[in-house]
């Protein structure tokens, strides 16, 4: 059971109000796809869910309990970049979590224990198609392989919640479709609640059971940072009823918020 609730969450950096009164309830095993114009605070919201930063206002609960104040093993994450450890090979990246558990002092296993740890990640290597690259370092892998490694690494921890921040943003469409299959399979096999930020509507519709759109409800062209974004659309999708109408509405919302600019920028364009 994993239920995540955000209550009146707001965040600001100095005068820059980013999030304002965000309320969200996401149930067990949901796949929540999050949209919004660039800079509207999606990554900020993920960082709050992760406890990488504390919100200025409001609270986040997991199963009714306030979330821990530091990132921890209950919440896994895949960032757009820097998600794998460049100084460790593929297999070393994958056994790292086990090493952290079993070797509290130095976080390193040797001999028989290390061998066992390696055997236990074999199935995951296969699932994400990295068996042949097991001894390669991340810099020797393609972008898609690195992201597959990052997802495998996060999933091996069996987190209750998986947070994905544009994990496939840098991949070509073919690789991306391939990654969707892998992610969907792994999500069905485990019982995680997933939050995924994406700019790709199709991706969100294909993967999500829940769509959430962030935008500002109030807008002052002279002071673009005066108001923060909140959730303006929150739609449940059962995979069958993928309605064209919902899509159109969300697409509309996104294109509106993307054309809004601060006043000076508009003037610049007019000239």
């Amino acid at each position: 059971m994993t239920e995540v609730s955000a209550r009146h969450v707001s965040q600001s950096y100095g005068d820059n109000k980013v999030l304002e009164n965000v309320n969200l309830d996401v149930g067990d095993k949901e796949f929540c796809a999050m949209f919004g114009a660039s800079g509207c605070g999606k990554s900020t919201f993920l960082r709050i869910l992760l406890s990488q930063e504390q919100p200025k206002g409001g609270e986040v609960f997991i199963d009714g309990e306030p979330i821990a104040s530091e990132p921890g093993r209950d919440r896994g994450v895949v960032f757009q970049r820097y998600s794998v450890f460049s100084h460790l090979s593929v297999i070393e990246n994958l056994i790292l979590a086990t090493e952290f558990d079993q070797a509290p002092m130095f976080g390193r296993l040797f001999g028989q224990k290390r061998k066992k740890a390696m055997e236990s990640v074999e199935h995951m290597l296969e699932d994400v198609g990295l068996t042949a690259a097991r001894n390669n370092y991340p810099m020797e892998l393609s972008g898609g392989m690195q992201q597959r490694l990052a997802i495998a690494q996060a999933l091996l921890r069996k987190p209750k919640i998986l947070l994905l921040d544009e994990p496939f943003g840098a991949l070509d469409p073919g690789t991306r479709a391939n990654m969707h299959e892998i992610l969907l399979k792994l999500w069905r096999d485990t019982s995680m609640t997933v939050f995924m930020v994406t700019h790709d509507l199709e991706e969100g519709f294909k993967l999500g059971t829940r769509l959430v759109v962030f935008d500002k409800t109030r807008w002052d062209p002279d002071f673009p940072n005066a108001y923060g974004a909140t959730i303006v659309h929150d739609v449940s999708l059962d995979q069958s009823a993928e309605s064209a109408e919902v899509k159109a509405r969300i697409r509309d919302q996104l294109s509106q918020s993307q054309t809004r600019r601060p006043r000076e920028e508009k003037d610049d364009e007019a000239n």
Partner: protein, 263 residues
Amino acid sequence: MASSYLTAIPFIILIVAYFTASHIRLSENPNDKLLPSIEKFGAAINRLAFEEDRRTGQYTLWVDTGASLARLGMGIGISTAIGLILGIAIGLIPYIRSTLAPLVAVISLIPPLAILPILFIIFGLGEVAKVVLIIIGITPFLIRDLSQRVMEIPIEQIVKAQTLGANSWQIITRLALPQVLPRLISAVRLSLGPAWLYLISSEAIAATAGMGYRIFLVRRYLAMDVIIPYVVWITVLAFLLDYLLRFISRRSFKWMGGEATTL
């Protein structure tokens, strides 16, 4: 292969130029001491390296080499340890950074040779003052370089480690330490030059053995036949040390690809 011939050319030209000049000077004045001939070098090297000194009963060159390398090794070893510990602490823990970083910055501005007299007063003329001079001379640089590198570790990596269940100590041993080791080696390589400088300087002023001591001792007799072989020998040792570090860095950090193989 061709490039190793190219490397050799300037050295050959230098050596030929030296002995030509030496030959010209010596044919004008056989007692000239400035540019000794190859025979005089041979005799001096033989006397210092392969014959017991009549007064001390020791092989002078090896005693000097041992004394100098012991000081250098101690100085660099202790500096490296301090640099690594404080560099990681300052880079990783904001609280320690705000406390210590300004102090390190100020200390790094003190010209180490200017406080050498103070070191001799405090620690006496023995080994300690010389080792401490090396430590004071290179540690601030090591601390600053390593803390900088630690701060460059993306916050995402630290967060990721936490989500995998790492505690603070494991973040140091499995993330910060391995990520700064290549930088540590290149920083130590850069520190070798200054370390030799401080070593020779302190030996020149007060010592009973050591390569710097010997060079400055025989200077009184214009003994170029001793000074020049010592300088060449120091250069060879410095080169070997540097080569060793570069070799270790190349062998150990395959994950960096080409980046670890710098000049």
